[in-house]
C-alpha cells in the first residue's frame, strides 16, 4: 500500500501528462503482481467498496481524538480523509521505529474488503490505519470512500501499462473488457512473457476516430471532390457493439466516445439490437431521440443521460435511436483498414438489410463546391435536412480515402460547426451568485488549453436551466480542489474536469486577461457531461477567430 500511496501522492501534485505517465509506468515496472494489478484497477475505477462510507471514518476518529482539536484541524485542512490521515494517533510512536506491524498491501486491503461484512469494516480499517503512515492512510481513505481524485483517467493508466511493452494504448483497450483485476495475464502479455490474452470480450470498445475543427484557411488546400459531407448531429456520439460470447449468448453494448459502457441507460436500444440478424457489429453513430420520425433537440436527449435506472415511461416518451455513420467491424471482419467510401457502402447495405426502426443512416450532404456546402451549413432545412435542421450543428467532412484511424489524425476528417462563435471550455472556478441564486454556485469561470495548461477566457452566468443549475452546483461542490475565499477552484486537468459549450457574441483583444482575449456576452449553451476535458478547445481556436472578426 505504501508504494501505491506514494505514487498517488506524486500524481496528485503533477500536472504534466507525460510525467504522470512516466511515474505510472515506473510503478508498474517495479511493483510485482498482483499488487500492481490492483493499483491499475483502483486507477481505472474497477474497484468499489460499498460498505466503507465517510460516516464510518468519522466515527473512528471521534473515538480517538478530542472533538475540539478535531474541529480545529478539520477547519485548517479542509478535507475529511486528509484530516483523519494526519491526526490518526499511532500506537506508541517513537521517533525512529514507530510501527510494529507491517503495513497492509493493497492486495490485502482489496481481498479483506471483498469478504468483509458491514460490521467488520471499522475494526479492519482501524488496524490498517494504525499500521500505515500519513500518506498511506490518506490513500487508503481516499480509495475506499471513492473520492480518489488524482487527475488520472482510466485511459491514461492503460497508456502507462502499454508503455511497459511497445504497445499502443488501443491494443490494451481492445482486450480490456475481457480482463479482470489483478490483470496478471495483461502484464504477462505486455512484458512479452505470454501471448496476448484471449480477447474474451465479445463486444469490445474500439477507440473512435475524431475530427479537427475546420479553419477558413483550410479550404485553399482541400479539394471538394476528395470529400464526402454529412450533417453533424447534435446528439451524443456512441459505439453500438454486438457479439456472441463463449457460451453462445448474444451480447450488446453501447459505449460513449470515451469507452464508458452506457448500456444501462439505454436498455431499449440494447434490446433492439439483440436479434440474431445483428450478428457481430461495431457501429459508429449518433445517439438521438426520435419521435414521429423527427429528431428531438439535445435538451430532450438530456432527459435520458446520466441515469442509473430508466423507467418504461421514460423509454416510451423518449425513444432512443442510432443514426449510423460508420461501420468498424462486421461478423469477425475488421473494416477499419478499408476506405471511408468502402465502409460506407457496407454500412448502407447493412442498414437496409436490417431495416430496424431504431437504426438509420446519416444521410450524405451533396455539394458541388465549397460555396454550396457553406450554403447547406447555413441553412440545412433547404439542403435536405427538412424539419431535422434544428438538431444539426454543422457539417462533417470526411476524406473519401480515409481509413479508420483511432484518435485524431490530421487531414482526414473535419467538423465545420454552424455557429462560429462557439467554444468548448473547461470549468475552472465557480462562485456563488446573487439574489435568489445566492445559495448556488452560478458564476462560472472557464478556460481553454494553451499547451498543457488551461487559461481562463471568460465568465458565464446564464444559459442554463434551473434544473441544470442544480446539477452544476452539485458538480462544483463535489469537485472542489481549492477554496480562495468565496471562489472554488475545480479539479481540472487533461483527464478531469467539466466541459461547457460556451456561446458568445464576439471577441475582443484584451491586455487585462492572461489569455489575451475577452468574450462578449458569453453564456453556457450546453453542459458537455460526455466530453473529456482534454478535448476542450485550444486557445488557437479563439485566436484564429480574433483574426477573422478583427
Amino acid at each position: 500500500m505504501n508504494r501505491f500511496a506514494e505514487l498517488l501522492d506524486r500524481l496528485a501534485y503533477e500536472s504534466s501528462r507525460n510525467n504522470k505517465l512516466r511515474m505510472m509506468t515506473d510503478y508498474f515496472r517495479r511493483v510485482e503482481d498482483p499488487e500492481r494489478g490492483y493499483a491499475l484497477a483502483a486507477m481505472t475505477g474497477a474497484l468499489s467498496f460499498t460498505h466503507a462510507k465517510p460516516g464510518v471514518v468519522r466515527a473512528l476518529i471521534a473515538e480517538r481524538t478530542d472533538p475540539v482539536l478535531f474541529d480545529m484541524s478539520y477547519d485548517y485542512v479542509g478535507d475529511l480523509s486528509e484530516t483523519v490521515a494526519l491526526m490518526w494517533p499511532t500506537p506508541q510512536r517513537a521517533h525512529q521505529d514507530r510501527r510494529n506491524a507491517a503495513p497492509p498491501t493493497l492486495s490485502e486491503v482489496v481481498h479483506a474488503l471483498e469478504q468483509a461484512g458491514k460490521t467488520d469494516i471499522p475494526r479492519l480499517l482501524a488496524d490498517w490505519l494504525d499500521d500505515l503512515d500519513e500518506t498511506g492512510r490518506w490513500a487508503l481513505l481516499k480509495l475506499i470512500t471513492g473520492s480518489l481524485r488524482i487527475g488520472v483517467s482510466a485511459r491514461l493508466a492503460k497508456t502507462a501499462v502499454a508503455a511497459l511493452g511497445d504497445l499502443q494504448p488501443n491494443e490494451i483497450e481492445e482486450v480490456w473488457h475481457g480482463l479482470e483485476p489483478p490483470y496478471i495475464d495483461l502484464f504477462a502479455w505486455v512484458e512479452g512473457r505470454e501471448p496476448k490474452p484471449d480477447a474474451r470480450d465479445p463486444a469490445p470498445f474500439r477507440t473512435p476516430m475524431l475530427s479537427h475543427a475546420l479553419e477558413e484557411t483550410d479550404f485553399r488546400n482541400l479539394e471538394p471532390e476528395d470529400f464526402v459531407a454529412e450533417w453533424k448531429w447534435d446528439g451524443i456520439r456512441v459505439q453500438a457493439v454486438t457479439g456472441v460470447d463463449a457460451t453462445g449468448r448474444r451480447v450488446q453494448r453501447l459505449y460513449s466516445r470515451t469507452g464508458e459502457d452506457i448500456s444501462n441507460s439505454f436498455p431499449d436500444l440494447v434490446e433492439a439490437f439483440s436479434g440474431e440478424a445483428f450478428g457481430e457489429l461495431t457501429i459508429d453513430g449518433e445517439l438521438l431521440i426520435l419521435r414521429d420520425g423527427l429528431v428531438e433537440p439535445f435538451s430532450i436527449l438530456q432527459q435520458r443521460l446520466n441515469r442509473k435506472t430508466v423507467s418504461t415511461k421514460l423509454m416510451t416518451q423518449y425513444p432512443a435511436h442510432i443514426r449510423a455513420y460508420d461501420l468498424l467491424a462486421e461478423n469477425g471482419e475488421d473494416l477499419r483498414p478499408l476506405t471511408f467510401v468502402e465502409r460506407r457502402e457496407r454500412l448502407e447495405k447493412l442498414v437496409s438489410r436490417l431495416a430496424h426502426d431504431r437504426l438509420d443512416l446519416s444521410p450524405r450532404v451533396t455539394f458541388a463546391d465549397w460555396e454550396a456546402l457553406a450554403a447547406a451549413r447555413r441553412d440545412p432545412a433547404s439542403a435536405g435536412a427538412g424539419a431535422d435542421a434544428e438538431a444539426i450543428e454543422g457539417v462533417m467532412l470526411k476524406r473519401r480515402d480515409s481509413i479508420y484511424v483511432p484518435g485524431r489524425p490530421k487531414g482526414l476528417w473535419y467538423k465545420w460547426k454552424r455557429d462560429p462563435y462557439n467554444v468548448d471550455a473547461v470549468l475552472m472556478y465557480a462562485q456563488r451568485g446573487h439574489g435568489k441564486r445566492s445559495s448556488f454556485y452560478s458564476d462560472f469561470t472557464f478556460g481553454v488549453w494553451r499547451g498543457e495548461e488551461l487559461v481562463p477566457v471568460g465568465k458565464a452566468y446564464f444559459g442554463f436551466t434551473d434544473q441544470e443549475l442544480l446539477q452544476l452546483d452539485k458538480y462544483v461542490r463535489n469537485h472542489t480542489r481549492n477554496r480562495f475565499g468565496p471562489v472554488r477552484e475545480m479539479d481540472f486537468s487533461r483527464d478531469e474536469g467539466l466541459v461547457l459549450e460556451i456561446a458568445f457574441e464576439g471577441l475582443n483583444r484584451s491586455t487585462r486577461h492572461k489569455s489575451g482575449v475577452a468574450m462578449r456576452f458569453p453564456r453556457v449553451s450546453r453542459i458537455r457531461w460526455d466530453k473529456p476535458a482534454r478535448e476542450a478547445d485550444e486557445i488557437g481556436a479563439l485566436e484564429a477567430l480574433l483574426k477573422v472578426t478583427a
Binding site: Y13, S15, S73, V77, L86
Partner: protein
Amino acid sequence: MSLSDLLTLTPAGLYCPEADVHIDPVRPVPRALITHGHSDHARAGHGAVMATPQTLAIMALRYGEDFCTTRQPADYGEIVRVGSIDVSFHPAGHVLGSAQIRLKSSKICAVVSGDYKCARDPTCAPFELQRCDAFVTEATFGLPVFRHPDAAHEVARLMESCRLFPDRAHLVGAYSLGKAQRVMKLLREAGWDRPIWIHGAMEKITDFYQQQGVDLGEIRKVTAADRPKLAGDVIVCPPGQLTDLWSRKFPDPVAAFASGWMRVRARARQRGVELPLVVSDHVDWDDLCASVVATGASEIWVTHGAEDAIVHWCRMRGLDAQPLHMIGYGDEDVENMAAGEANE
C-alpha cells in the same frame, strides 16, 4: 510566584525587568538576549546583545559587523548573572547555534524555548530538555495534523525522484539558514555523491556551516550558464525562487519544497509545489505535547502561530496555559510565506 512576575510583554516583545533584558525583541532595545539567528528573532540595531557564539557570528554575517553596540558570547550551559537573574543558554536543536534561554531568580525558574525541535539534525547540537517551573514554548506547528516524518525518509523521496527523472533538475526550496544545510547533510548521509548546487543567496551561510565543521561535501554556486545543464542534479534555493523566472532556465524543473507546511496538501498546492518534502526545524505536535509535560512546568505560555490547540490541550491536563499573542513573529511567518520565504 507566577511567570508574570518574572516576564512581561512590552511592544518590543518579552521583557525580564529583574535582568533588564528583552528576549528576541522585534524592535531595537538597549539589552537583548537572542535565541537564534533567524531574522524574526535576531534583528539588527540593539545595544548589548548576548547570544551563543554561532548566533552572534550569523548575525554579523547577515547584518554586518556593526549589527549591535556590544556583543557577549554565551556558551551552552554557562551561567551568567544579569541583575538578580541567572541566565543560561541551552541547545534548542533548531539551527546551528540555536538556544533555549533559561532565567532563574530566587523564586522561579523559567525557560524560553525560542524555536526548537527534538528530531535528529546532524547540523546542530541536539535539543536538551530543561526542567523548569514555567515554559514559554513556540507552537508554529501547534495542530495535531502536524506530525513530521523522519527527515531521512523525505530525502529518500527526493532521491527516488532524481532516479525516476534523471533528465529533470530538482529544485529544493529551503530556508537559507538551517533548513538548506540540513537537507544537504541528509543527502550526503543518504549517499548522494554528486556536487550539490546552491543559489547564490545561501552561499555565505553555507560556507559558515562548513567552517563550523558541518561537512557538506562539494557545494557549487549556480551561475546563469550552469542552469540549462543541471539535469539530474539537486539545486537548493530559497523557497521564493521556485516560482521565480530564475527557475525556468533549468531543464524541466521539479519544484520541491522542504517545509513542515508541506504536510497539508492544500498548502503545498497553493504554492505550486510538485514534490512536497515534509522537513521541519520545529517541534511537531507530538513532540510539543511531550516536551511541555517533560519540563515539569506548571505554567505554559505559547507563542508563534497556532496557540489555541496547544492551550486547549494543556488546560485539559490541568496546566495553566496562556496564548501570548505577540506581534512580529506569527505575522512574520505569514508575510514570509507570501514572499516565498517560509521562515520557520
